[in-house]
Point group: D2
Chain length 275, copies 4
């Protein structure tokens, strides 16, 4: 789906970040996990160094899910169990903005993009066509519509940093008119899909996020490529590092755990400029 000519890490001014995530659990019963903590090199980032330390050392199997994310499966043993991942990443030193980039007709979308037109667990896009039409009234089809949606979210939905125990769906966010980063992204995605613009969620790191934590934003497919949008920031930020892409929060949990719930004793995220 990609070719070199679309790469948006420009040669000039590489921007280097060291990102890390540390999780520690106290496990009572052997517990299966699926983790999504190894960033992939892709169009918009290049992983130069990486560590992925699991303590104690146990068998882990890595696989690629249907969205292209690297996932790690393991069964955490009883006792203290920790995961530490550190990556040094070259990323874009600004996010691309491209007003005027055109809407892609459904019949011209690549097949791999089609699933991102459909409603999903937290993005009930089937319910948002009318609202999306109103928000984007008068806008040129494509980038300008998504920019209008993002502006509308910034102006109207209160961004509450931190993380919910449970994600809100687009409908819930639209009722509550506030949410954490992933909730705003859900509403943004649902509005895009309501206009037949493919949109997906991204989770990962953001430089200078305050307070520092895992972050979520969304990407929309316009003019033949994916663009980054983030209603929680002012739109001029830089330093996104993606850990996972998917239809919504259900696809991109940094960890999925099965059986009786376990909660991290420690969950430390950091992002540091090492340019």
């Amino acid at each position: 789906m990609t070719n070199m000519s679309e790469s948006i890490i420009k040669e000039s001014q590489p921007f280097r970040l060291r990102v890390s995530c540390h999780l520690k659990f106290d496990i009572e019963f052997p517990t299966p996990f699926i983790l999504m903590l190894r960033p992939r090199s892709g169009m918009q980032q290049w992983i130069e160094k990486e560590e992925y330390i699991i303590t104690p050392s146990i068998p882990v199997v890595e696989f690629t899910d249907s969205y292209g994310n690297l996932c790690q499966r393991l069964v955490a043993p009883v006792g203290l169990f920790s995961i530490t991942t550190i990556s040094e990443v070259v990323t874009a030193d600004s996010i691309d903005q491209d007003f005027g980039a055109p809407f892609v007709d459904i019949q011209c979308l690549p097949e791999a993009v089609l699933p991102y037109l459909l409603p999903s667990r937290y993005c009930e896009s089937d319910c948002f066509n009318e609202m999306a039409m109103q928000i984007t009234d008068g806008k040129e089809l494509g980038y300008d519509q998504v920019a209008a949606i993002t502006d509308w979210l910034r102006a109207n939905v209160s961004y509450v940093p931190g993380s919910n125990s449970e994600s809100l769906s687009a409908i819930e966010v639209n009722n509550k008119m506030s949410g954490v980063c992933i909730d705003l992204a859900h509403l943004g995605i649902a509005l895009c899909r309501g206009l037949s613009i493919p949109a997906h969620i991204a989770v990962g790191y953001l430089f200078e996020l305050k307070p520092m934590d895992m972050h979520a934003w969304f990407e929309a497919y316009i003019g033949g490529r994916w663009y980054t949008f983030d209603a929680t920031q002012d739109g001029t930020q830089r330093g996104y590092v993606t850990l996972g892409l998917g239809r919504d929060a259900a696809d991109v949990a940094v960890f999925n755990q099965f059986g009786p719930s376990v909660f991290p004793l420690e969950h430390v995220v950091s992002v540091e400029n090492i340019t």
Copy 2:
């Protein structure tokens, strides 16, 4: 993901059905469609004959989606537009029941099955663990749990034949305690996933369905294979023909249409025994 030894079309007593679907639209504006109307030969069915007639004759592109379904893309031209598909299918003459088939530990599930553990648009499985535990209390892990869930649906959720304009999610079905076939399947799936049993939706045809229409049911992954469950029927029926598999209704629309809504002038479904 499959091998011959798992095929459940037994040599003895093949059961042959002729299934057909006819759709007719009056199109006002050129309208992109994605159709899912070509059944695939698979573990549980073999397509012997097939017709797929589009009138007028226009360009169509077929692709395989990430669930393995054959999908057809086209742009319907202005005017009368019709689709007629007819298939002759060898299918199982009974659905397999296998009480005692064991729950598969998360760490032993094939990767391709993992997405069916996660919540999706209409199956908010993250909300159904407790309810699923109650319904299956005392049951052996695996097939017996899913059978208990299906029995509970049969006994407690009113099945209203016909089709909604909009699907209900598991939460909505659980509030309303009634629904069409796909609604019951959504609740069944959410309850299975709530127990960490992979479950997906199937849409297609069912022999002697009354009244005849497209149908939906669900499959659960137990003991290393998928089993069919259908809370709208008494459990001894035969003659399922699958058109599409997916996480829920959002993935398996027989037709997805983009732009201003169009509704079929005609929508005729038939299933005939030709054994």
Copy 3:
């Protein structure tokens, strides 16, 4: 990898063919087969009707291989065993020729096309760069190079209709300077890849092929799409129906059979114009 706008079945003048293949075997030991006898609807053909009859009726599993071909697995039982497939196909009423279509830089090729740059069992493209440079000397990069290769094959390699028991590799064809259809395709592919032009083999049917049999030709990726080339014909023919695509003959056997060799008692191919 495809979108509707690339479809090359034009609305005007649909060309309809009924193609069929009949195979009959006398099986001594239960014998596993993998068949590739169900044409897929794609960019260049639309399957309107289809039959796939296996006698006696036995379990069959169908899957999609990594090239996108539909494949059928079965174990043929002892005794007479036959396969009859019939398809009615809308295909292009001429093959596209596009002199001047440009070479695509390696870095701009879609990922899915990259495997078709590499040498394969019967296309030792690593040995053909120099020869390909000579044949295409002075030609514009892209379509004109592949047209020159095809012309060179037509002029220099004797086409012997019929089928070998064993395919010849490009090196062998280049030594022998004669071959059946698939042999010429192998040399054409090796020469294209020798120029870093992606090329793959196609097997299937050709209208008015003399004598009628299964046929093979090749496709090259130029200017962002696949074009058909066939050195066994004069280049103005129409009526290609593809059964399988792959790197070379090793990937696209109409039937692969394992264990002691069995040979068809009957192998009948027909193509009929039903426009």
Copy 4:
């Protein structure tokens, strides 16, 4: 295709290696490369740390090929150009041997394994059935056959450390009766496939290889999993780290380069025990 229960990195006695590869080129013309230098965590290895430094820093796109390997695409700019990769890997402290592990019937093989039954560029397995039958005469079907093939290679084909500029195919190795590591692997693979045992090539690192260099060996699918075989070693070695898997050398080049040939000024490989 994998599940945790098949993981063969045992909890006890983890064996840790630091492996590295350094390549340096002097580029005359902008040159497209496809690299395969990032090992993936999988069933048999876990990547704890990793560096992938490209100098000068240029855009790179990473993708997963159809065999599951991580590949890196870039266009090397004119001038000195270097790549340095370093990984710290937990690997098995011995390779599994399992005499008696059974042959898997064709009809029971997973689909993803089927391509490894077919002949490929350097493994003309269609020509090796008879020879494979002789070498394995009297052996139990499965692991014991592949062990017999490997023993036969060790006893009969001279292993010449170092690397050819060009790989030899199985037929060529069988004529010459000597070869580098990848040549012996080609003959081993062709003999396995000649017996309908799926076999693929692996390239990567081997601890204490003398002289140190990139290495190649093969894996055969027996008793439901892949086993490692290496005719260049005595069979009791440990410390394999896989960079790429594929049908043969054509699929797993550590670097593929397009356009006028460039050769590394420096190519340094190292493997160090850091347990």
